[in-house]
């Protein structure tokens, strides 16, 4: 058994240069990526490079370990994707391609056969390392790690019989549809039943046990249409003589899957993705061979042999009616363009040649038709004759609106780009808009003429042949021409018109060429379509290679230019969209926040109201507490005065305690009332004029007994002629608070009281030589119920509300502020700075 790291190491040891291979992948991925996905792709790739670089370093270190990696792969029966052949070998689309990749990577595959559900279970538990043919879904991506490359997209296709004209979903209304029981395409979320429901289409479903039974019902006419997957459809439609419609749905990406977060998973997935990407691009790769062999039901051996020309005697299944029609029309007259090389033209020997001629030969053979060239004088005349039904078929034409009035079109079988050609000295063009107002040459009666007339305001100048058109531009008779890329470049080269260039493409879409059939012969269209369907990819490739063997390489590759421009535009559009989306999200966020803010504001308002209510409650409650307390204090005082008789010392001592406790309780209640009133905004302010010395005197008299008891010295510095206009009672309260604190917390030394003018303010300071307050505690000093040094707390007996109330009074009533400077052990200085005239209010009353 190898350890995980060894496995990883040997695996990467094999990639000759991981970074180069990644760069290769980068290049390939960039080309393959859809425009909008480029950005995501680049991010992925950058990430990959980082990861790979880490691994690469390991790989070099462990390069010596070079043992094949052994992988357990699940296998089940689902022909042609995965199945056991007669000799008991696991084969099919997935196994054949996996085997090829494994050979290159020197992986050793151990097939673990089972049923589909067994395989999935093993994948979940990690009993197998890899499972082929797993349809990707978001739900499954939670359970397994998938390759990014899809091996095959499978989807549902609706087939119908030859008597029906079902072409779109709407045509299914009121129809009988054969489906397979339990299939994802029948009952799945995106299956046919849900789909028709979404479109309000009513159908009658006949559920049968297999796809074969579905085709059986359709071909017998017992159902109007049937749903099968595309693999089955392409393999069996011929046998059952059923017709494929354009209705496809429920695409499923079939990929390889590994157990979630397995050690081997990332390595396998990376390698598989890398190989699949390369294999897909190479036309002759095992991937493309296997795909075409399995999808067209050819013998598997063909995958491993070189392709030969497809057998010429391939049968096209025709209905009796079609056969009858063919025998009733022994000669079909063709009208051709003698100068539409390389699609169709008349050679110098007078022979009909070109891509179309090959198709006609093939279709004549296969369908038993006899299509003959009846007119080859000129294209213009050929079209005229087709209009008059003197000619039955134009084998190689594009669709224009005008033509649809007298002609029926087959499926397209040739694709080309419509381009603008100008002289090389002409300025840069980006598209049709740039040539509006120019003299635009075009081949008369061509699809390009029709296109310009249908889609632009340009009035093109018609020339009889493409050569004449090209020559007109070359000589300067016209500025530009619009034509198809393939034949234009063919003639540019042939006529050696070196002063012409492909300036721009008309659109990114390809133009299509069809067989055009006189409109009273719809049967022939049906027959030709069947014939065209029978032409395999290989046959098609061979025909095209014969006639379009030289790939056009213009000075400026307009296709590349456009592809890149569109890609860049795509990236810009994505960025733009992200910005737009971002903006949208932001504005939504802002709206949300404003809403929240409004709510908060309302909540805040109601909280404020509630808080005021609370303060009001406390104020009135406290008032009620005062009445009995006043009685206690009063009567205790009366007894202590011995008015009601003499007391002994013990009684006097105990009563004094009752008395001082009651007084303490009263001052506590009084402070609470004050604070509550301020908070409720119910305190009235009464500014009056008075001398400051007079107020300070009153305060000092109040505090004098305590001062005397502690034998503290008092120093005052108060100007005699200093008049204040403010709420006297409240200022007095503040000063008394400061003074009683100073006395409380000072055991020996001096209390200093100072008042001085500072501009329009007065500063009152009370200093002591007491315990002082640490900086840490100074912050909390003016909070409610903050007292320091529990040792002092007991002795000091304050309310804990004093400084809190003082600050509230100073700020909210007197319009000033409080200050404190202190050092632990060195005493404190409490300051009060208030305006000399409170708020400019003149005192309405004059005390005494």
């Amino acid at each position: 058994m190898y350890t995980v790291s060894e496995k990883n190491a040997q695996n990467f040891g094999h990639a000759k240069n991981p970074v180069t291979s990644i760069l290769h992948q980068l290049n390939a991925s960039t080309l393959a990526a859809a425009h909008g996905r480029n950005l995501t792709y680049l991010i992925y790739i950058l990430l990959f490079i980082c990861i790979f670089k880490c691994f690469a370093t390991n790989a070099q270190a462990d390069d010596v370990l070079n043992t094949p990696l052994s992988i357990r792969v699940g296998a089940y029966e689902n022909k042609p994707k995965v199945y056991l052949n007669d000799s008991g070998e696991v084969v099919g689309l997935f196994p054949d391609i996996l085997r090829c990749i494994a050979q290159k990577e020197r992986w050793r595959i151990n097939w673990i056969p089972g049923t589909w559900s067994q395989c999935l279970k093993r994948l979940e538990t990690g009993e197998i390392d890899l499972m082929p043919d797993v349809a990707y879904s978001e739900a499954r991506a939670q359970k397994y790690d998938f390759t990014r490359e899809t091996m095959l997209v499978n989807w549902a296709v609706i087939y119908t019989n030859t008597t029906q004209t079902i072409e779109s979903l709407i045509d299914l209304n009121e129809k009988r549809i054969a489906v397979m029981k339990g299939s994802i395409h029948t009952d799945g979320a995106d299956g046919i039943k849900n789909m028709v429901k979404k479109f309000d289409i009513t159908c009658r479903f006949s559920a049968v046990d297999s796809y074969k039974a579905v085709f059986d019902l359709v071909s017998r006419g017992d159902a109007d249409a049937g749903v099968v997957n595309r693999l089955f459809g392409s393999l069996f439609s011929e046998i059952y003589n059923v017709r494929k419609t354009t209705i496809i749905f429920n695409p499923r990406h079939l990929r390889f899957a590994c157990p979630k977060d397995s050690a081997m998973g990332p390595v396998l997935i990376d390698k598989l993705d890398q190989h699949l990407d390369n294999l897909k691009k190479e036309p002759e790769s095992i991937y493309n061979k296997a795909l075409s062999v399995y999808l067209s039901g050819l013998p598997r051996e063909l995958i491993f042999t070189e392709f030969k020309k497809a057998p010429g005697d391939k049968k096209v299944p025709l209905t009796p009616a079609e056969k009858a029609w063919i025998s009733a029309h022994p000669i079909i007259r063709l009208g051709i363009d003698p100068e539409f090389a390389p699609f169709e033209y008349v050679s110098s020997k007078g022979e009909y040649e070109g891509i179309a001629s090959d198709y006609i030969q093939l279709l004549n053979e296969r369908l038993g038709l006899n299509m003959q060239v009846a007119h080859q004088a000129s294209w213009k005349e050929a079209v005229e004759k087709a209009r008059n039904k003197e000619i039955d078929v134009l084998p190689c034409v594009g669709v224009t609106r005008e033509r649809t009035q007298f002609i029926l079109f087959s499926k397209p079988y040739i694709h080309f780009y419509r381009v603008i050609i100008s002289r090389t000295n002409k300025p840069f063009l980006t598209g049709l808009r740039d040539i509006e107002g120019m003299k635009v040459a075009v081949q008369a009666n061509s699809s390009h003429e029709g296109y310009l007339k249908d889609n632009t305001d340009i009035t093109p100048v018609p020339y009889n042949t493409l050569q004449e058109t090209l020559l007109a531009v070359s000589k300067g008779d016209a500025d530009v021409l619009v034509g198809n890329l393939t034949s234009s470049t063919f003639w540019i080269r042939k006529l050696n018109l070196t002063n012409l260039k492909v300036a721009a493409s008309v659109s990114q879409e390809t133009q299509k060429l069809h067989f055009a059939v006189r409109d009273d012969w719809p049967e022939l269209v049906q027959i030709l379509n069947k014939g065209l369907d029978s032409v395999s990819r290989e046959e098609l490739n061979q025909i095209h290679k014969r006639w379009v063997n030289i790939e056009y390489q213009p000075g400026i590759s307009s296709r590349d230019f456009w592809r890149n421009t569109i890609r860049i535009a795509g990236v810009i559009a994505v960025i733009f969209l992200i910005i737009m989306f971002w903006n949208y999200k932001l504005s939504k966020e802002i709206r949300k926040r404003i809403e929240i803010e409004n709510k908060l504001h309302k909540a805040n308002e109601s909280l404020k109201a509630l808080d005021q209510l609370k303060s009001m409650f406390i104020a009135s409650m406290s008032h009620e507490l005062r009445t009995p307390l006043n009685s206690i204090i009063g009567f205790t005082g009366v007894i202590l005065q011995e008015m009601s008789g003499p007391l002994n010392d013990k009684q006097k001592d105990h009563l004094s305690r009752v008395y001082s406790s009651a007084k303490h309780l009263l001052s506590l209640i009084t402070d609470v009332i004050d604070i509550s009133k301020i908070e409720a905004g119910r305190i009235d302010i009464f500014p009056q004029e008075f001398f400051i010395w007079e107020l300070m005197d009153e305060a000092l008299i109040t505090i004098q007994p305590q001062l005397n008891r502690k034998q503290l010295k008092l120093e005052t510095s108060i100007p005699k002629d200093f008049v204040l206009v403010t709420d006297r009672k409240r200022l007095l309260q503040c000063v008394i608070n400061y003074l009683s604190n100073a006395v409380k917390y000072t055991e020996t030394g001096t209390i200093r009281v100072k008042a001085e003018q500072m501009d329009d303010h007065v500063k009152i300071e009370v200093s002591d030589t007491g315990v002082g307050i640490s900086e840490h505690d100074q912050v909390k000093l003016f909070e409610a119920f903050e007292r320091f040094e529990s040792r002092l707390k007991v002795k000091s007996g304050g309310t804990g509300l004093g400084l809190y109330l003082t600050r509230k009074l100073a700020k909210e009533i007197l319009g000033g502020d409080v200050q404190v400077t202190s050092r632990k052990g060195e005493g404190s200085t409490f300051g009060l700075v208030i305006p000399i005239r409170l708020n400019g209010i003149e005192s309405p009353q004059n005390a005494d």
Partner: protein
Amino acid sequence: MKRVLVIEDNENNMELITFILEAHQFKTLKAATGALGVELALREHPDFIILDIQLPDIMGTEVLQRIRNAETGAGIPIIAVTSYAMAGDREKLLDAGCNGYIEKPIEPDLIIAQIKKFIGDDL
């Protein structure tokens, strides 16, 4: 012996004030409501009046005005007893013709001095 009218609804306060006054050789008249207070003041014409501002029937200030407005009551010194919570009203009381005010709680050793301060030592 000077006669004092005490207008006070709270029984405890009434007892406290009259006890102290009587201990200081005053004769007391008691009124538990504002209406009775006005009636006694005008009929008995006491030497001075102690008036609690918070009364159940009529406001203390109203009592004050009724006594002041009557011919027989205009000259009687009146001392208001206020609660701390009524602080804002004190100036109004003085304006309304009150000779002085005493703040609750009543201090037995100070009340006589306070009274003398407002209405003269000759009491």
